[in-house]
């Protein structure tokens, strides 16, 4: 024991040094302990899966979900008042919150929402949860292409067995999702990790009043020798937007995203419709092929000659300003742009909007269309939550054929995804009766974003280089070559074998016509 005289020798500086070190050690210890895994994390194959069980009784997905809650209560796994927190984007509040209120009344549970303002923050927060495992969130409504990262991080539960147990009627029967949404909004490496809750297939909108104007039709015929018609191919589309490009009148030909975050969308649509693929079966990128470069050259010309500069420098919202204010002849974006453009409160061109099937490419005499499904939202269940199965039941109930129609038709960022909903009056009222058949046709040709592990990084590198090409900083060849180099590094860093497995599964989620084209061209043989 130190004597008083010894204590006096301990200077304040020395004391603080010792105290600081001790405090740091104590705090570090507790942080490490808190952060230490409750159970060892494991990559996808070893991640916990939903327990297989007998199918739950019930006539509809909603009924089976509610019966599932009853069974979980009876088994003592959950009880009245148990709280479950679902993270989602603020744009879905109007769809999520009323659903939770109703589900809580029906079940006695307490589902709560945790709203996040920026989409990107959802990824950050979700991956943070994968590290700290706090159990703060029981489920997530995230971008579809983050499923791979979340599954590989061991954050979300493999739902395959619960799909079998509860049958959400996603891929078969009269209530099924529009294929191929049923596959790529739910699966990763061939297993179900999410419940699809959205349809983000892009749509092409145009100024019907300009297009239908007999004077314009005559001018077009005089100029090109062809009758003015909706374009079937991207080459025809480029001719059309060149014709309607009127910078002197404050109207440019089109607005296709060429900016920092969605620059890939139009290039990918053109590239894949020609039989292009992001990777071969060994994960070697194919984007810098002749098709890829030629596609980018043509698109860069359209961007340069027929679009406002803010297509390159703005963000996703620019389309939602340009088209409704009437400063572009055509624009492509999510289905919600149609709602904005048709609403007199948000648009100067209400009643003048037309919807065209997204163009494609003719290969060996056949027209192929490839429509990007850009981001999209799907539900996934945290493995660190209190009762994952109950959370799954809520997601199934939310997306059910009847309840889902009621919720998804509300204003919000979740869009129509079950096939029979395209015939419902409530959706015709929401989107416009003329638009829905076009959206349905486009959705059937939709292909997913890159959804591999590291999807964000793959897409970001592609976007950065494409944007540089659109801004004239890189040649198309250089932009795509640089992307290839970056992609190879990502693949090697994350493990080529795992990525190959994921890609071989992912490419099977593309529209059948594109898969057939790949086979025909020998890109993939299986």
């Amino acid at each position: 024991m130190a004597t008083n005289s010894e204590l006096k020798k301990l200077t304040r500086r020395e004391f603080l040094k010792v105290a600081g070190a001790a405090g740091g050690a104590i705090a570090l210890g507790s942080v490490l302990e808190a952060c230490a895994p409750a159970q060892p994390a494991a990559p996808t194959p070893a991640a916990p899966t939903a327990a297989p069980a007998e199918a739950v009784a019930g006539a509809t997905p909603e009924e089976r979900a509610l019966n599932g809650i009853k069974a979980l209560k009876a088994a003592g796994k959950i009880k009245d008042g148990d709280t479950f927190v679902i993270m989602h984007h603020s744009g879905q509040r109007n769809q999520i919150v009323p659903a939770m209120e109703e589900f809580n009344k029906l079940t006695g549970l307490n589902f709560q929402n945790a709203e996040v303002g920026l989409e990107g923050d959802i990824y950050t927060k979700a991956m943070n949860e994968a590290v700290v495992r706090s159990g703060s969130y029981d489920g997530f409504l995230t971008f579809v292409n983050w499923i791979g990262d979340m599954a590989e991080a061991g954050l979300i539960v493999d739902l395959t067995d619960w799909f079998a147990k509860y049958n959400p009627e996603i891929d078969s029967g009269p209530n099924a999702y529009v294929p191929p949404l049923d596959r790529f909004t739910t699966t990763y490496k061939g297993r179900r990790y999410a419940v699809g809750a959205d349809n983000d297939a892009f749509s092409m909108f145009y100024r019907k009043d300009m297009f239908d104007d007999p004077n314009e039709q005559k001018k077009y015929e005089d100029k090109t020798g062809k009758k003015l018609a909706l374009p079937q191919t991207w080459d025809e589309f480029d001719e059309l937007v060149a014709f309607f490009d009127r910078p002197d009148q404050g109207i440019r030909g089109t607005h296709l995203y060429a900016e920092r975050y969605f620059a890939y969308t139009n290039w990918a649509a053109r590239f894949i419709s020609k039989g292009g693929a992001y990777f071969d079966d060994n994960m070697d990128p194919l984007i810098a092929s002749d098709i890829g470069v030629e596609t980018l050259e043509k698109l860069a010309k359209v961007v340069r000659d027929h679009m406002w500069p803010d297509a390159v420098t703005g963000d996703w919202s620019v389309a939602y300003k340009r088209f409704p204010e009437g400063s572009v002849f055509s624009a492509w974006a999510w289905a919600s742009l149609g709602k904005w453009a048709q609403d007199p409160k948000t648009s100067k061109i209400a009643g003048k909007v037309g919807y065209m099937p997204i163009p494609g490419s003719i290969v060996d005499g056949t027209l192929y269309r490839a429509i990007p499904h850009v981001v999209g939202w799907s539900f996934s269940v945290s493995r660190y939550g209190k009762a994952p199965e109950a959370v799954y039941c809520f997601f199934q109930w939310f997306t059910g054929p009847t309840k889902g129609a009621e919720l998804i038709s509300r204003i919000g960022t979740l869009d129509v995804f079950r096939k029979p909903w395209f015939d419902l009056q409530v959706f015709k009222d929401a989107y416009g009766a003329e638009f829905l058949p076009v959206l349905l046709a486009d959705t059937q040709n939709a292909f997913p974003d890159i959804s591999l592990r590291g999807a964000n990084e793959y897409l970001d590198k592609l976007n950065v280089n494409l944007q540089a090409a659109f801004a004239g900083q890189k040649t198309p060849q250089q932009a795509l070559k640089d992307t290839v180099d970056e992609w190879q590094k990502i693949t090697d860093r994350l493990g080529r074998l795992g990525q190959i497995e994921a890609w071989r599964n992912e490419r099977k989620n593309y529209p059948q016509a594109i898969q057939d084209l790949w086979k025909k061209k020998g890109v993939f043989t299986s």
Binding site: A19, A27, P37, W308, L494
Partner: protein, 309 residues
């Protein structure tokens, strides 16, 4: 001695605590421990992460293999890192220089004795500094849009060809970022330098005036040397802040076109939170911390020398 022998352990403890130096230590200890813990723990974790190969999608961080200085080597051999570092330094140089010159000019102007409306204008000048970065970034983004007010004015004055693609050409885009930074932070320079000028003793100036010194001579030989410590502090604080510039770049250009306006902080953010390479981002953060510490050390040396003298 007898008293000590007779006292209970409680009394001895009480007597020990009541000693002035012990009592002071006990009062400060909890906060010191907390502060050191808050400071040390994240720093240690960042250093640890920078030495392993870990990404959340590759598994558990506690089981991440050691990469030792591999992340540092990777960062230092990455051309994009040097590009963003160089670009960030360019932004810092131009932004801080302009802020200093404008702030100093304003401070000199407002330090005149009889200036009508001095209080009002001083308050107005400080206003931009009080705005959140995000508001300033978005405001300047709107100002410089292709069909925004700046291009409108240019077109009105100089004709249709005068409109500039502000965010499409990298030099112009960096220029708009610098301008936004200058607009927001010149008041900070002004505030510090104005306070410094106000605190300078009047006697040397009055003596010089009596001896017939010109205004320029007084400024160059008396005001400026006396203000040097304040100037250094102002420059160091602003340079450090500006070196970490993130919000303005993120909002105004997103680092684009391509990566042509990306700043170091944005690059670190992307590496860590978009690409998920947290170990690499940690190595960058450590390098950034060391660089800032070294630069700051050299920057404030003149002040230390002055103290010793």
């Amino acid at each position: 001695m007898a008293n000590i022998a007779l006292s209970s352990p409680g009394q001895r403890l009480s007597r020990w605590i009541n000693q002035e130096h012990v009592f002071k230590l006990i009062l400060v200890a909890p906060l010191q421990v907390l502060m050191w813990a808050i400071l040390i723990v994240p720093t240690l974790l960042v250093i640890y992460l920078s030495l392993v190969r870990w990404e959340p999608i590759l598994g558990d961080w506690t089981q991440a293999p050691f990469n030792w200085f591999g992340n540092y080597v990777k960062v230092l051999t990455d051309p994009r890192f040097w590009e963003v570092l160089g670009r960030t330094l360019v932004i810092v140089f131009f932004a801080v220089s302009l802020e200093f010159l404008l702030g100093f000019a304003l401070a000199l102007f407002f330090s005149q004795d009889r200036l009508p409306g001095k209080r009002l204008f001083t308050s107005i000048i400080l206003y931009p500094m009080m705005l959140p970065w995000v508001v300033v970034g978005f405001t300047f983004y709107l100002l410089f849009l292709d069909r925004g007010p700046v291009n409108y004015v240019l077109i009105q004055l100089l004709g249709p060809g005068a409109a500039q693609p502000w965010f499409k050409e990298p030099p112009l885009a960096i220029g708009t970022i610098i301008l936004a930074d200058v607009w927001q932070w010149t008041p900070f320079m002004f505030l510090i330098l104005y306070s410094g000028l106000g605190a300078l003793p009047r006697e040397p100036v009055e003596a010089a005036m009596t001896l017939g010194a010109t205004r320029w001579q007084i400024f160059r030989l008396i005001t400026l040397p006396m203000l040097k410590p304040v100037i250094i502090i102002a420059l160091v604080i602003r340079a450090l802040e500006c070196f970490k510039i993130f919000d303005l770049v993120y909002i105004m250009t997103g680092g684009g076109p391509g990566t042509s306006t990306e700043s170091l902080s944005l690059f670190i953010y992307r590496t860590g939170f978009v690409y998920g390479q947290l170990s690499l981002a940690a190595a960058m953060a450590v390098l950034l911390l060391i660089s800032i510490a070294v630069v700051t050390r050299f920057a404030i040396r003149p002040l230390e020398y002055r103290e010793e003298v």
